[in-house]
Symmetry: C2
Subunit: 142 residues, 2 copies
Amino acid sequence: MLSIGTLAKRTGTKVQTIRYYEQIGLMPEPGRTDGGQRRYGDVELDRLSFIRHSRQLGFSLQAIRELLDLSDSPERSCAQVDAVAQKQLREVEARIARLEALRVELQRMIRECHADRVANCRILEVLRDHEECLSDHDRLGG
Amino acid sequence: MLSIGTLAKRTGTKVQTIRYYEQIGLMPEPGRTDGGQRRYGDVELDRLSFIRHSRQLGFSLQAIRELLDLSDSPERSCAQVDAVAQKQLREVEARIARLEALRVELQRMIRECHADRVANCRILEVLRDHEECLSDHDRLGG
DNA sequence: TATACGATCTACAGCAACTATAGGTTCAAG
DNA sequence: CTTGAACCTATAGTTGCTGTAGATCGTATA
């Protein structure tokens, strides 16, 4: 039986995060000692490993919940799991594309500022005035 | 004089977001009508445009605060502004690199699942077991 | 067996950067 | 002068945790 601290170390999670996952129903309520401390087994270790690895891959907790539900269902459908993964891949690709655009514009901004070493800083002007670089009303993904 | 709604439309910002910026001191407290409604001028329009464009480029509100302070200071230093932009560029590049790694792994995961069309879904196994793909204790940047 | 001390407990506040809601007031067009 | 959209404040919710306070537990050592 593992204490919460040991489970945390094994999975690279913070203790509070494990308790948080329990609170939101992502991890089950574990058994307790007489004194009230949580004790975990291998099932919980597996489940938390799954959650952490999925988080590292950028899956939202909601997506992870779906994946866990699918993996718990008796005749789990590979197609459904695949759909979740595909969706995540598309999101990652969209974020990359967005960041690439940002990178290009930042580089251009910095380059222009360097060209003009003495006078007013171009960066501030660009940040103030530039309008065509990105579509309006477009938001940054978290 | 612009109402908050007009200012919002002109800058592609939500009304609540403008009030939020005022609340955290990023936007100044504007003048009011007799009835208590906010009225803005061109100075505020410029400032908010600056903030929104910087946000679109991925700058944090803290970084934007620094940029605004620099732009307000009488002998503003281009080097300091440049440093903030450079830092932002490095952060963007780091996020791109991280997402590229995620993309590669997601693609591999999905490809393996497709290769094995009938049996258990590989994606779930990979999510559960894979350990070497990303360094442990590594967190996703927001 | 007593003590010390780190680990754990609950409960709650806080972070970024907004977004949404409720319930009331003001402004401007017709 | 009426109507209704836009505005007001205040507060709670979002996502995914992180940090704190003050109390209790568990175990290694004297």
